[in-house]
Each structure stands twice: as structure tokens, then as C-alpha cells.
């Protein structure tokens, strides 16, 4: 603070005090600007003091000038400080005025769902395309010779009877609804020379009364590999890869010998229960293992039927129920849920992943 030693100095002190008080009183930038004009404007005491300097003798003018400058810069510093504070305040006020309640809900954009049977089919298809398979399909209303005869079903097999299989009016026994995706094995082989690597998803039909594990219209997925040197070990490796990708990385599989007309040797495959890992629980009915599919080496009858050299080429095939795969993968106890399209059920599968 500069002290003055004369009247002019007293006046300046008073002006300074008034100005500082004025700054303190200013509550916004506009009143601060008014205060600034009052304190430092052309009519202010400071301006008058500065203009009266030229009337003083040179020595006194230098001293007095220094005092005026000091007073002015005191006032300006006060103003600047006050302005900064008020500006910060004002900005804060603006942010407050612009504040959004970010906890309000966003626009309601509903994502739908892919059907669990679609998801499971894709998942399985992707496993096999990764192993070098392509996707094939064929008719659902099929020639009985592809549904049965070419697949080495004896004519007396119960599947050929109208108790088990749907036939088509006006077509006698020649045309039936495929009870499995296996006829596409024959069609795929007929359509090309070996090697053949195909995976075949599709709908199938059986005259089954619907219950938690049976449907009259259901999905299957079939795989076929025919090449030189295909072994049952290859089948085991592929099924193992499949089961572990679908149900869990470290689960074991086991093959039990079985019988199917179109494969030999044939096997059923169990995967270690993914709930209890073999201990036995409700899901696996205490077995520790869950049956997942049937498979085997392509019966030479089929290879001969399509005109392949059954000595040179061998192959494997497998078939699994899509509903069963999906039910196991998602813990669904009744496969009829898959065909009811109840949104409360489908909602479990919401999203595209």
C-alpha cells in the first residue's frame, strides 16, 4: 500500500478504498464492469489525478505519478481477481443450468433375439466349418430311397412303416418326410467326387407323440467326411472337438458301440456331465455322462450306392438332435419350449451373440 503525503494522496487513498469496496460489492460481471468504470473510467478520481499531474512541477510530478500508478494497479489487481472469481462462478452457474439427469432412461431401442435353435445350429456349423466342412442341405420331402434304401435300411425296418414315418398322399411309398438328415449324405456324395466334408442342419419329421423329449417336427445336424484314409480315430477327434467346444473345454467323451444301418462300426457318444463333471447329478440322472449323438464309419453299402470306390475311400458320419444340443447347452428341460415361441422363453436368448 502506498501512503501519500499530501491532499492529492489522501484523495487517492479514498478513491482506492472506495474502489476496493465497490469491487467487493460487485456480485456479477456487469456490476463489476460498472464499478471498474467508476473507479478507473475517464471521470474517476484516478483519471482526474492523472490529468492533474501535468500541472505539477516535474519533480513532484514524478512522485505523484508513481503514486497514481500504484493506486491504479492496486485497483486493477483487485478487479482482475474479482473478475476471475465471478467468471468461475458464472461458468459454474451455467453448468448447473445445463445439467442433465443422466440417470433418466435412454431411448428405448429394443434388441430382439435369434432363436436358440438357430444359435445352436450356427455354433455347431461354425465348429465344423473351422474343421474344413461346408454346409449342405437337401429336401425335407424326400424320396424314400434316399431316406432309407440308400442308407442300408432293410425293407423290414420299423422306420419304413407308416407308424413311424410320414408318407405323402398320391406318392405311395416312394416319397416320405425325412426322419433324419442322413439322406443328404447320399445327395452330397452323388453330387460330387470325394473328398466330401459337409455338415447338414435341417428339419426332420417323425410320427412321434409330442412329449418333453419328442417332437413330430424337429431339427437335426448331420456331418459327413469321406476321403482317403479317414479313420474312426478321426471321427473320435472331431466329435471330441465338437463336444468340448459346445459343452466345455476340458470335458471328456466316451464312445459306446451301437448299431445304425448306415454306419459300421457305429457308436453312441456320451460327454462328461458339464454340471457334475462325472460325479453324477440330476442333469445326467446320476450317470455322470450325457448321451449326445450317434455316429460311425460310413457303411460301405452307402459308398457303393453312390458309386464311390469303397476300398479306396472311407468316411465317418454323425448326427445329433438340435433341440437336444440346445437343451443341454442352455439347461432346457422340455424341448417343446423351443417350438412354442413364448417371448418369455425367447427373452433368455435376447441379443445377437
Amino acid at each position: 500500500m502506498v501512503t501519500s503525503s499530501n491532499d492529492g494522496g489522501d484523495q487517492l487513498d479514498a478513491a482506492r478504498s472506495a474502489a476496493l469496496a465497490d469491487v467487493e460489492r460487485a456480485t456479477d460481471l456487469a456490476s463489476l464492469e460498472e464499478a471498474r468504470i467508476r473507479a478507473l473510467g475517464r471521470r474517476s478520481a484516478i483519471a482526474q489525478a492523472r490529468s492533474s499531474l501535468r500541472d505539477l512541477p516535474p519533480e513532484a510530478r514524478r512522485d505523484a505519478g508513481r503514486i497514481v500508478n500504484e493506486v491504479q494497479s492496486d485497483i486493477e489487481r483487485a478487479f482482475d481477481a474479482r473478475r476471475e472469481a465471478l467468471e468461475a462462478n458464472e461458468l459454474q452457474g451455467r453448468w448447473e443450468r445445463e445439467r442433465l439427469d443422466v440417470t433418466l432412461p435412454g431411448d428405448s431401442i429394443q434388441i430382439g433375439s435369434l432363436h436358440p435353435l438357430t444359435k445352436t445350429t450356427w455354433e455347431i456349423v461354425d465348429i465344423f466349418t473351422g474343421l474344413g466342412f461346408r454346409v449342405a442341405d437337401g429336401p425335407e420331402v424326400e424320396l424314400s430311397k434316399y431316406n432309407f434304401t440308400a442308407l442300408n435300411f432293410p425293407a423290414s425296418h420299423p422306420s419304413l412303416s407308416p407308424q413311424e414315418t410320414y408318407f405323402i398322399e398320391g406318392r405311395g411309398e416312394d416319397v416320405s418326410l425325412r426322419p433324419h438328415t442322413s439322406p443328404v449324405q447320399i445327395r452330397s456324395m452323388e453330387a460330387q467326387k470325394p473328398p466330401v466334408y459337409v455338415v447338414i442342419p435341417g428339419r426332420c419329421y417323425r410320427r412321434d407323440v409330442q412329449d418333453p423329449t419328442h417332437l413330430n417336427c424337429f431339427g437335426q445336424i448331420e456331418g459327413l467326411a469321406v476321403d482317403e484314409g479317414i479313420t474312426m480315430g478321426d471321427l473320435k477327434g472331431v466329435i471330441e472337438a465338437f463336444a468340448q467346444r459346445l459343452f466345455g473345454r476340458d470335458l471328456g467323451i466316451r464312445m459306446r458301440p451301437h448299431y445304425f444301418p448306415f454306419t459300421e462300426p457305429s457308436a453312441e457318444v456320451d460327454v462328461q456331465c458339464f454340471v457334475c463333471r462325472g460325479e453324477g447329478c440330476r442333469v445326467c440322472r446320476g450317470e455322470g455322462w450325457i448321451e449326445i449323438l450317434g455316429c460311425g464309419m460310413v457303411h460301405p453299402f452307402l459308398l457303393e450306392w453312390v458309386g464311390y470306390d469303397a476300398e479306396r475311400y472311407t468316411g465317418f458320419a454323425f448326427g445329433a438332435g438340435i433341440e437336444r444340443m440346445a437343451a443341454l447347452a442352455h439347461g432346457v428341460s422340455d424341448i417343446r419350449y423351443f417350438w412354442e415361441n413364448d417371448l418369455r422363453f425367447l427373452d433368455y436368448f435376447r441379443g445377437l451373440a
Partner: protein
Amino acid sequence: MRVPIGWLKDYVPLEVTVPDLVRLLNFSGTKVETVHHPSRAISDVVVAKVFSIEPHPNADNLTLVEIETFGGDRERVVCGAKNFAVGDLVPWAKVGARLPDMVIAERKIRGEVSRGMLCSGRELGVGKDHSGILVLPPDARLGTEVSEVLGLNDTILELELTPNRPDCMGMVGIAREVAALTEAEMTLPVADMTPLDSSPGVPVELADLEGCPRYVARSIQGVTVGPSPAWIAARLLAVGLRPISNVVDITNYVMMELGHPLHPFDAAKVTGGSIIVRRAGDGEAMTTLDGVDRKLTSGDLVIADSDRVLALAGVMGGSDSEVSPHTTAVILEAAYFDPASIGATSRRHGLRSEASARFERGMDPEVLPFAAARAAGLMSEIAGGATAAIADVYPAPFARPRITLRPPRTDAMLGTHVDPDRQAQLLRSVSFTVSRDDGGLDVEVPSFRPDISREVDLIEEVARLEGLDKLPSTLPPGQLGGLNETQSADRILRRTLAGLGLHEAWTNSFMSPRDLDALRLADDHPARRAVVVANPMSEDEKLLRTTLLPGLLRAAQHNLARASGGVALFEVARVYEPGPELLPQEPTALGGVFAGTHSEQSWDSRARAWDFFAVKGMVVALMDSLRIPAPEFDPVAGMPFHPSRTAKVSWGETTLGMIGEVHPDVCAAFDVPRGTIAFEMAWAAIVAALPGRPAAASLPRYPASLIDLAIVVDAAQHAGDVERVIRSAGEPETTSVRLFDVYTGPQVPDGKKSLAYALELRATDRTLAEKDVTVVKSRILGELEDRFGARLRT
């Protein structure tokens, strides 16, 4: 098939535990479905004697039965069955007794106290028979636990046999497997093959050698028909057969033991004393043992005497020649019947029996004399019968197949090495005769293995006996795998629709004719031409669907009925279109149904219901996701859609499908709200429109001019046509057309409407000048005026 362990032990020593046995069977191809421990489920059910039977005073279908038990104690129970008589022995569950499905308490039934219960076979868990009370063998001791009498203390394996293994349909066949798996010796039951005299026996004429190539008939005389001893009855019950009489039970017992069905005729009822095996005459009639009158066809193989049909060969005997309590002489049949013939007859008559189930799979032609002798031996032991003579007619004996197995072929098939000696040893273990020769193993197939006819069958035997757990785990070479363009597009389409908020549905491929009626389709509508199922189980599966809409509408209804405010479903699936070819076309269709709330009211937006334009926009977005140009939408009328709120979707000449409001009558028929929107499109048309890879041209170098163009046209004028004209007249400068306002009201004359478009004009070689824009604008206006009498709105 049920296999009591105790019975199995008659033929093979069992030195493994039951769990080990189960594992061995499971992993060699004989699947053990369940292990039963019947006695664990039953206690305090004892043998009792029926003392008196009185009518229940308050119920016609009930009786009051007084029973006598050990020590002469009497108790009274209320009973519903009437298949027993005073003096019969029956299973009495005491008060407090435990049965597989219940615990018995003292109850009052229609006002009468019942102290316990008399049990049926099913209630005891010994078979499926629930038609009456299980009458016990007369030599059972009063007061004994029934589980002991019935052999229920035994463990029973329930096997799921595969149809290729008829040899496993008897205890001996299972024993053969077990012996091979446990490296034990098996023993066959004893049977004396010699007859009393060496006379040729019953004359047998085989008139159809293909249907019946071998027939053994043993004449057994001096039998006394009566109940079976407890041990036979118990074993039959344990495997699920009902004891009938000693003679019949013995044939059943031998069938369960050796796997081969036998049939006893009452010799006195065989007219002319000879047996003829022939095809039936068309329309020939007989009554089978189950009391059903059957009309036969020339496809049915029958056993006949000189006058009439005695039995439906290999399926069921006739009631005429049935063994009765008065029978004293029996002709015991052991025959081989052609599997296909038996299967056909069994299916034709809807009649499956223990016998037909075996014959249709192929029996052992060589076991017949032995099976007949075994049964005759038991009859002599139990029913006092003696064999007088044996006829065995087998004019053209089957040769046992001989097959060469190349051991390296086994290795190549399995992907692992099994030593040739080991392969031979495994085959010998299940009764194949194996010798080595230059080409590999020379294998003779036993007569009871009709499933073995070629090398690969032997490889399977080796594989299953060696164990599939020995296989290595390898991967095949594979090819270039992956999805083709159509398959990839299918995934994009489904993901887009799901991303747009739709739920994917899978609905049944069948439809009912009623569905087509509910869609209000005209009789000549193409969707009426459907593939017809010849043997539907119900009306609902009579047809294969020609449209996805019924399934989707039903799914929508299902959800709306469960308080779902809105529903948006789609399905990608085949429809079935019959044509002149043997097989129908199976084009894939894409269908969608939308009803109710599209979006709920929110704090910043109003509720919106599904309407035509919401769905139309979605269809355009869907095409966009596949980079297919937006299709054209033109008004069209046709069921099942609303006559004036429906569009045909097309690209030029290619029709994609229809989109529109569902006709109010159809909404009513499917019980969905009025205003439900639906579309159905042909997937093939979408696939055909898929573009190739996008080529990225350079970006425009000159700025665009944006202008608004508001015109006045007749109120009925379709905006789509206007837009088409703007686009064509505006070529090549017009690069974008967007309708931003449709207006009727003051400022627009009555009967007119204003359409306001935002246009983007652009040239590739320069910035368009004001006058260029004016030229384009007046070109468009001129064309609009010519075509629609349109005026610029001022």
C-alpha cells in the same frame, strides 16, 4: 429285455460285480438301460390264500375279499379286480407294506375297512400287467415274502438291444457276450435230443420254402396241463411275462433262455394230424390267441392243418388249437421263418408279439432241434410229457457265411493297430471260427449272427470287443470349409432382424386345412395347393405349409394372450409347393408378424403401436443390411391382407412378396388384434438380388445443391409414383430424394394434397450453378405436371 442276474448265472460264472458287468456290456454294444433291484422296493407283501369273496355292499365294481395267511390268521381287504377265485394264492400287502410306488395304510373304501391290498404285477414292479391281481403259483408257502417267491431278490438288468442282435434276445446269447467279455467259459442248458421212438413224427409240409425253410415238430404225449412250478413262474414274471400254464410257460421259458420262440399246438385239435406251412389265401380268416378275428392276405405265412389255419406263423397262435387244461398231447413247433415275411405280417395286422419281435430280426436256423429238445425235456420233467417222435424238415440247409478279414483293413478303418492274432482271438471269443490264410483271416460266421455278412461287420466286432476307448483321437485333413454367399446372407438377415428388435420364431412345418380357411384364402389361391400327408396323426399335420403366416400368427396370439403388450416375430423357413415332379419345391420364405405395442410411452416419447410404416421401414433397412437396393412397394389387394393397406414388394419384374395389415377377418380368426401387420417374402428373390463386392468409387469433388420442392397433386395420388418420376426426370443430377412432408388442409385445395421433397442435386464435373438447378427443377416439374397434373405449391 430284462436279464435277471441269477438266471444268467445258470450259463456263465459271474466273477465281476454288477457295476463292472454293466460297464462291460455298455462298452461292447449291449446297452444297460436300467439296473433294477425289485426286492429293495418291496417289503411286507406276503403270500396269502383267498378264503372268501363277497360283494361290496356299497360298490358294484368292488369286492370284499377275506384272505388267510400263515397260521390261519384272517384279514379282510377291499379289492377291485375279479380275476381270482377262492383258494388262489395272491400277494397281500399288509398294512404298512412298502411297494415301489406306495406305502399301504389301513383305509376305509366306500364305508368298508380294507386291511392292506392285493397286488397286481405292475404294482409289484414285475411287469406291466395291471389287468388283475397277480395269482401266485399254488406251491408257494403261505406267509412267505412275495419278493422271495417271485425271485425278486435278484438284480435285473434292463437291456436296450439293437435290432441287429437277435442273438441277444435270450439269456444264452447274453451269457455268450458276458463269457467273451469276462474271458469265462459258458455252459449251455442240458437237452436230451433223442426221441422215444424213431418214427418220422408229424407229417410236415413246407409249401413255401422261402417263408419257412426249416420246421421241427416234436410230438409230446401224456402231458398234464396245470400251473407252472414257482421257479418257472418267478423267472417269467421277472422278465415281464405272465405265467399261463406249465406247457405254455415252458415254451416261453425256453424262448427267454435260448432266444428262440416255440409254439405248442393241442395235437387233438390238428385235423388230419399233419402240419402245413403255407401262404394264407386272400380273405382267409382266423382268430388269434388274443381273441381278435383276423382277415388274412396272401402275404401272410400261416401254419395250417388240412382244414384250416392254426396259427399266424411266427406272430401268434390261433385260439382253435390253443393248449387248454384238457390238452394231453402237444405238437411243439420250432421253426425258422423269413424275417421280412414276419415283419410284414406283424405290421399288416398291427400285432407285435415276443415271437414276431424275434423272428423279424432273424433267428438261428441251427438251434431248432436243440430248442425243441430243451422244451421237451422240461415238459417231461414238469408236465409229465414224453416225446414220441420228431419231425425235422430242412430241405435246403443254410450255409454258414465265410468271410475274409484283412487285419490291416481293420487297422486302416480304426486308425490304430490291432495285432492279427488279437483280432482272431476276439472273433473266436464270440463263437466265430477263425483260421489264417494268405489273404488274412478266414472267418466262419455262427448261425445265430444274421447281422454278419461282410468284412466290415467283422471289423465292427473287433472294434467293439477291443474297446472304442482304445481309438486314438485325430483330425481329418478337411477342405476349405466355410459358408457360401447365400448362407452368409441368411445369417446377416436374421441378425439384422433380431438387431431391429424382432424375435426369431421356429414354427411347425405342418399346417391344417383350417389354417387356410382362417386365412380366408379363395379356393383357387395358390397357397391352397399343398403337399398332403398320407398318414397324419391329427388334422393339424394334414398338410405341409405353403405359408409361414399361420404359424407366426398363432405364435403372436400365444404371446398376446400371455399379457405381452407387443410382439414382433420373424421366421426363415421352407414352404412346400407341389408340382408335377415327384418331389415338391421347397422354397425358403421369410415371414414376419407384428402386433400391439411397438414402443412403450417413455418420459421423452409417446407410445407407438406397430403400424404399416414401422414394418415397411424395417423391410427397407433389412435390404440395406444386405446392400440390396430398396424394393418398390405398390398397392395390392389379396387375402389374407387388408384390401387397401397392403403392398406388393418387388424389384421391377421380380416379386418379392407382400407386406400389409392383416385383414380384419383374418385377425379375428387368429384372435390377434386388428391392425396386426405381416409380411411374407421369397428368400430366393432376396438371394438373387445380392450384390457382389462393393466397389468404392472416388468421393464427389463438387458440392451438392440442396433444394426443396413442394408440389400439389390429387389427394389419391400415390407418393411412390411421384417419387419415381422425380428420380427419373431428375437424372442424372438428382442424387437423393426425401419426402419430408405430406399436407392437406387450408392453403391446399379440396381433394388435393401437398408433397414436399428435399432433393440433393450434384454434377460430377462442376459445381452446379443457380441456372443449372433451375433447369433440373423445371424438368422435374414439367414431367410431374404431364404425368400427374402436379403444380408447384406456392
